[in-house]
């Protein structure tokens, strides 16, 4: 399968490797966040539901990181990429690393990321990178269920009681500013779009907005106003939360390097 991928060398500024990390890290970090819910979810059924999503996301991250390591060609495998990089080497959306907060926060964060991943995985079906295309096709099916789960919950919360509506609105207003980063077009994005490897970041915005508007309408929630500030997790500039998340995720490999079980 990897034979079909465009060669890493000629004309690659490292953007391709970096892009694989962006996709992998958003899934990995969000999966780690959802894993924190285990033992704390409001109901046994929700706990299993969120844990299932977490495992799907970590599975996506594994495939992407393994491929990224192969693409890089420096002998780093998925475990080394996941467990031995520092926060500024992570390329996830800053949205993915935001704390779980209350259940409304967890649900809103999930809806916003799920809708983005749906658009992304759809667009990647047209990638010239066959390996990436295959990972996206597998992930697309999982993400369709994630979005169904999270959007149904947002509708229930938004169109629920006065308390649940207020919490959903608060979570939406709190997390909304982090969504701009998804569509922020960098030089590397343009390079990959020109080479036919990835969709341009900005091209995902229309589809994402349509999906989110649909869910918010049903949830009787208003679209929050845009804010000018842009986060840059995809360039390694993160909020203070990522360091703590990685400290917990990586502690075993950091304490006992090379440990296996």
């Amino acid at each position: 399968m990897t034979a079909a991928a465009p060669p890493a060398a000629a004309g690659d500024s490292g953007a391709h490797f970096d892009y694989l990390l962006q996709l992998a890290d958003t899934s990995l970090v969000l999966g780690q966040r959802l894993g924190e819910v285990v033992g704390h979810a409001p109901a046994l059924e929700e706990e299993l539901g969120l844990a299932n999503i977490a495992l799907d996301l970590i599975g996506q991250a594994r495939l992407l990181l393994a491929y990224a390591g192969e693409h890089e060609g420096r002998g780093r495998d998925e475990d080394q990429l996941a467990m031995l990089r520092t926060p500024d080497e992570f390329r996830n959306l800053v949205l993915a690393e935001q704390p779980n907060g209350d259940f409304a926060c967890t649900v809103v964060r999930q809806v916003l990321v799920d809708a983005w991943q749906l658009e992304l995985y759809d667009a990647l079906q047209g990638s010239r990178d066959a390996h990436l295309r295959a990972i996206a096709a597998k992930s697309r099916k999982e993400t369709a269920y994630h979005f169904q789960y999270s959007s149904h919950w947002l509708v229930r919360l938004g169109d629920g009681t006065a308390e649940s509506h207020a919490r959903a609105r608060r979570a939406l207003e709190q997390l909304w500013p982090y969504t701009r980063e998804m569509f922020d077009e960098q030089a590397a994005d343009r390079e990959l779009a020109e080479r036919g490897i990835a969709p341009s970041a900005a091209s995902l915005e229309a589809g994402w907005t349509t999906r989110i508007e649909g869910v918010l309408r049903e949830a009787t929630l208003a679209l929050p106003p845009q804010v000018p500030y842009r986060w840059h997790g995809r360039r390694g500039i993160h909020s203070e939360h990522l360091g703590y998340l990685l400290a917990e995720m990586q502690v075993l490999q950091r304490t006992y390097p090379g440990a296996q079980w």
Binding site: G39, E47, L48, N52, H152
Partner: protein, 96 residues
Amino acid sequence: MAATPDWPLYEIFIRARGGLDHKHVGSVHATDAAMALEHARDVYTRRQEGISIWVVRSTDIVASDPGDAAALFEPARDKIYRHPTFYDIPPEVKTL
């Protein structure tokens, strides 16, 4: 984890493969039928147990009273002629 939420109980039935019947596998709590389907998917099909799910509100199931078991089921006990065991099965019939 909080105590079980104040949500109604749904009974879950899963069809393991095409051609088989839906079988009762357990129950989940959910606020409505759509959520019950999602919960059933997450709780009972994690290991590819099924291809179709039915959910039914537990309160919608009408059950026989175990106290009536004697009247309901015991009269059948001595009616062995209702079992098709007195027929000679032709050798051509492989399964019956």
